[in-house]
């Protein structure tokens, strides 16, 4: 099949960048989208042109490294699918495809489709954990966790940290990412002791990173390759508001 790719090319953080059009006359519908970019890159190398830089690693939809906005939608048109698992059979012969990096102030572009997502790591470092040093754990069955709670926590814990939520949000907000972690840990009895502090600290770090606010449009939920739900954002709001509003004053 034939595809025309309009790809965002940007040499470095300071380069203004532009769209460059590439013709792909003979791609195989069973290729993944990234494999199509591989093929294109091989040709660019043959022509002596700089290949397109894009992040990728596991290519099975779990590492969260890949991510690009394909035809205006993060990870492309297929729901619950990362770019590496998106196959060309999703498109029609002759389609024109626009490929851009995640765009957000908190995710500065490094080159072409590669962006810096370290803001997510800093949010986790601010509170996205259970403070349990190695060796201090009780028996795994000491605290029962109802199956339904464990399942719900797992729904949230599936987040792969790809950043599609930020990319899709009209406000460049990271609420879904933060909410997934706040919910995952806050739901489990092991994470309860730090629940509200965690929500407060992570949200404060999120705000410091320059992400936007939530306007409840639901775009993130639709873009999330792991189908993490909006209700987790409500859960985070609840934990955060209680954490800030109703917490007893701490001794400074």
């Amino acid at each position: 099949m034939r595809l025309t790719l309009h790809v965002w090319r940007q040499k470095g953080p300071k380069d203004p960048g532009r769209i460059v059009t590439y013709d792909m006359p003979d791609v195989n519908p069973d290729m993944s989208f990234l494999e199509a970019l591989d093929v294109l890159n091989e040709r660019l190398i043959q022509r002596g042109e700089d290949p397109i830089a894009f992040d990728h690693d596991c290519r099975e939809g779990i590492c969260g490294a890949c991510g690009m906005v394909i035809n205006g939608i993060p990870h492309g048109p297929r729901r619950a699918t990362t770019a590496c698992q998106l196959h060309l059979r999703t498109f029609k012969d002759g389609d024109e495809i626009w490929v851009e990096p995640w765009r957000a102030r908190a995710f500065p572009t490094i080159k072409d489709l590669v962006v810096d997502r370290s803001a997510f790591d800093r949010i986790i470092a601010a509170g996205g954990f259970v403070s349990v040093p190695t060796g201090s754990a009780p028996d795994g069955n000491a605290l029962p966790v109802p199956k339904k709670v464990a399942d719900l926590a797992m729904d949230a814990a599936q987040c792969i940290g790809c950043g599609a939520c930020v990319a899709s949000c009209p406000n460049g907000s990271a609420m879904l990412f933060v909410a997934a972690k706040v919910s995952h840990l806050g739901l489990l009895p092991q994470g309860r002791p730090e629940r509200r502090d965690r929500a407060r600290k992570m949200v404060e770090q999120m705000d410091r990173e320059g992400f936007g606010a939530c306007t409840n449009t639901g775009e993130c939920e639709a873009a999330c390759p792991k189908e993490i739900r909006l209700e987790f954002i409500a859960r985070m709001n609840r934990d955060f508001l209680r954490g800030t509003f109703a917490e007893r004053p701490e001794a400074e």
Binding site: N171, A213, T217, E219
Partner: protein, 220 residues
């Protein structure tokens, strides 16, 4: 920083403020609608004029609610502007190609419907509260002022347009405020969304009924 400062500083805190002030404004919209629908009672305006006088004879109630409303409007606008600026800064470079999948028209245009409604409120206050934009305004003659004011076709049209905007604003705000305050449930939230749509339509229809009937001469 105090907890209040921290709350106000955060995006979620600001959204909570928008939600709470939104609830207050929503309550006003309902009350205001209920009061003004009395124009439809065919008694030559006796009931609605009495309602107007009642409000003015109890200054504590009148100014109390005006103060609460004013504060809510102020906070609602202030936080929304701050959030909107923040949101705009969060994506300095727009996409070349953008597709929407989930975001409703209403949700994407809150920052358009909001300011337009605010403008309309200013006009509306000048029209029926102070009378500056009204050709033949007479204090406390609610019925006569409404009839004469809304028989002007473009005024009526402005009212209808504003109320449609209000409907979209109330639709998205109506369910979204629960989300902002942390209330969500897989069973009830979908109902809430539908409920918000129904209420938004009813409010719009209710308000539109007034200029429409007056302009068509059904109420005199």
């Amino acid at each position: 920083m105090s907890w209040l400062g921290r709350l106000y500083d955060s995006t979620i805190g600001k959204k909570a403020i928008m939600a709470v002030t939104g609830v207050i404004l929503f309550a006003f919209i309902i009350g205001h609608l209920a009061g003004n629908l009395q124009i439809l009672i065919p008694d030559g305006g006796a009931r609605i004029d009495a309602y107007g006088r009642f409000l003015h004879e109890s200054p504590v109630l009148l100014w109390g609610s005006r103060l609460v409303l004013l504060a809510s409007v102020f906070l609602h606008i202030l936080t929304s502007v701050q959030l909107a600026l923040r949101n705009r800064r969060a994506r300095p470079q727009p996409y070349e190609f953008r597709e929407w999948r989930e975001a409703s028209y209403a949700s994407r245009t809150m920052m358009i419907s909001g300011p337009l409604i605010a403008l309309f409120v200013v006009y509306h206050l000048g029209h029926f509260t102070t009378g500056h934009f009204h050709g033949s305004f007479e204090p406390l003659k609610v019925h006569d002022n409404m009839i004469s004011g809304l028989q002007v076709w473009w005024a009526s049209a402005a009212y209808v347009a504003a109320m449609i905007l209000l409907g979209t604003h109330v639709y998205h705000g109506g369910w979204s405020l629960f989300q902002s305050l942390g209330i969500s449930h897989p069973r009830y939230t979908p109902l809430l969304k539908k409920g918000a749509a129904v209420v938004a339509v009813l409010i719009t229809l209710g308000y539109v009924l007034i200029p429409a009937t007056i302009w068509m001469g059904l109420v005199r």
